[in-house]
Amino acid sequence: MLRRLAAAVVVALASATAEGLVAQAAGGAPATGTTVTYDDILQGLSDPTRWLTYSGDYTGQRHSPLTQINVDNVHRLSPVWTFQTGTMTRGRGFETTPLVVDGVLYVTGSNNLAWALDARTGRPFWQYRRNLPDDLTYGASAPVNRGFGILGDRLFMVTLDAHLLALDRVTGGVLWDVELADYRVGFAATLAPLVIDGKVIVGISGGEYAIRGFVDAYDPETGDRLWRWHSVPSPGEPGSETWPDDPDVLARGGGGTWMNGSYDPELDLIYWGVGNPNPDYYGDDRPGDNLYTNSLVALDAETGELRWHYQFTPHDLHDWDSNHVPVLADIEIGGELRRVVMLANRNGFFYVLDRTTGELLLGTPFSNTTWAREIGPDGRPIILNDGSQGCLPDPWGSTNFYPPSFDPDLELFFLTARETCATFVPEEPEIVPGRSSFGGVVWIDQEQGYSALRALDVRTGELEWEFEYPSPTFAGVTTTASGLVFAGDHEGNFIAFESATGRDLWHYQTGSRIWGAAAMTHMLDGRQYVLIPSGTTLVAFALPEERD
């Protein structure tokens, strides 16, 4: 394979015909000369040999139609190969979701490494490593990356020094490199770019610093910026009335947009989560709801204009970002088929919204939080405990960015819930560009925390079943049409459950916590693979091959 690639690279250098090269590099696949089109991404997971966007398709459901691995045989699932990245993720996890096209995996890693891997063996074709500056800000505290976007023969990747890159997927070479924002102020980027028709959509990290968040669209060919939407309004703009009349406060109001959004191609709307206001825990200098922090926003994909928003946590004081994968589905509510967007929020509530209008259809707690237990008729949470009535969910929240999953046949929403106990002590920070400004400290009772995989009925938000983990967990969830849920825990187990019942059917101890990642699954040579990043490794599983 490597020899074949080496020969292919020579061909590419000589003739610069990349399309034929891809076919040769794809491990014996027919020379189809395939490139990935917008229509391909639009088809989602209908071609089971591919996984073309972070969640598998634009809905964010992370639900595979594959059925080879099922409830009856998953106990035979076995590791096929392990890829060692050789790079550690200080304080965080290996959070990526690989993409796969024609038997080649495209994988981003921590510290802005990336690879093209042979999906049959885990052996690398190429490695990309970005030379990072030694004065990273947010990117130093979270040196992670969640994956590539793909279009044509280009891979799109964001960086810890807040750039967006286009890489040649055949060679890993950089085709263009644009700066999203100045990392020295506090910006970084960690998400997997969302590719839609003629646009690469990205958000920005750094809400713990004095930054102002945004969502951007870029031209995939040139890297030119097509539009920018700011997550904190300018003075005089709608939403600015929810902030103090102080341009300096607005200019550093936070509102990171650091997690992947979803897309409805029919409505041509992008759904994106917005993070905490800054300072995180100290709010005396930013009275008001602080829009559009801690909100879900629907943006016009063509122009970036705001169509609607819903704020989950007005005037947040607990770092309960709303940076979650929005999950789109069409479900029957009250005898009517509704286009909805669903998410389980860091504040402990599960929400269902009409994704055309933003109307709240359901908001109910999925956790044991004492912060609030219901949403009032005005659509705002009724706060019962501001922290004076006992501990609250910690700043990592009752769930977090790691992917949930939705099984449309069972109409169950699966998420990893965290039950924690924290005391917030706000203190006024000094605002210094490039220095984090949390605005206080948090005391977490380490003895009280645990997690659970929970299955929620999306019509009611009621708990159908749960499986407890002994400690707070950061693993995402993937489901398959064969009735399986793949999840994981902080102790390193990669686990398969029966979707309908929560029965644990199989597990494998990966040796390191599964943190921020969820499984990806695809077909290759008639065999279903399931991949999970854990620690410094990417592990591929499949059913044992039948041997004569």
Partner: protein, 260 residues
């Protein structure tokens, strides 16, 4: 919380930053303003792994560094250079900021030696051997079910040691929580939980055997939120006996003050 820029910190506290470059002694040792600045710096750069209270989450407990014999310079170099083979990174922060963090950490360290005139260490030794040594080890002798107590008087105040003897279940360190298991053969096993995940549990049993179990093979797992150690109230251990025992534990570190 005030984040103090390094230049201001140096100017306000100590004069020229050049004075603090390669020194082995902390120029901010005991300086309250520096310790406050160090606390803020610690909260943003270290607390994620070492905890807001410096007692450790994924990284180690830092409140015991000095108690275990570490000095300021060692901590400074650990922050500056990182810890090889771990996820602890090196730091390019100015010396002033690192020394401020060192001053803060030293301030929260449980370093105060136990001052006691009460008690008879020789009688305490007898008590220790008859009562404690089955589970606790001192200088290589004794049991291993509980923590090694050779240097305990360096890392615990007298009040804390008293509380841990009188009411050991009030706070149980990770690795010492009691568990009672019933195996598939009907055998009851008691011990301390060393590690646990959703499917397995790793135990040091009361016979000091490291035993791993797959949970689904066990008939029962009872995990009382308490210590294996019984409470020694005044009726089990009088106040004067407690003084003797503490005097013995203090004598262990007084006899060998430099040992880490």
């Amino acid at each position: 919380m005030k984040l103090i820029p390094s230049a201001l910190l140096a100017a306000a506290l100590c004069g020229s930053p050049a004075m603090v470059g390669a020194q082995t002694a902390n120029p901010y040792d005991g300086n309250q303003a520096a310790m406050r600045a160090g606390r803020a710096l610690y909260a943003t750069r270290c607390a994620e792994c070492h905890g807001a209270d410096a007692k450790g989450i994924s990284g180690p407990d830092l409140t015991m560094l000095w108690a275990l014999g570490t000095d300021d310079d060692f901590v400074f170099r650990a922050v500056r250079d990182g810890v090889s083979g771990s996820i602890m990174p090196s730091s390019s922060a100015p010396d002033t900021e690192v020394w401020a963090m060192v001053a803060y950490l030293k301030g929260v360290s449980t370093v105060s030696p136990v001052e006691t005139d009460a008690g008879d260490a020789a009688r305490g030794l007898e008590l220790f051997e008859s009562t404690c040594a089955r589970c606790h080890r001192v200088n290589g002798v004794g049991g291993r079910l509980g923590p090694d107590l050779s240097r305990i008087a360096r890392v615990r105040t007298r009040d804390v040691m008293t509380r841990e003897i009188r009411d050991p279940s009030a706070s149980v360190r990770a690795g010492y929580r009691a568990v009672s298991l019933v195996t598939e053969d009907g055998l009851t096993v008691r011990g301390a939980v060393k590690r646990e995940d959703a499917f397995s549990i790793q135990v040091l049993d009361t016979q000091e055997r490291l035993q791993g179990y797959v949970k689904e093979t066990l008939q029962e797992i009872v995990s009382p939120e308490r210590s294996l150690m019984p409470a020694y109230g005044p009726s089990q251990l009088s106040d004067s006996e407690l003084d003797d025992l503490l005097a013995y534990l203090v004598s262990l570190v007084q006899a060998d003050p430099d040992r880490r």
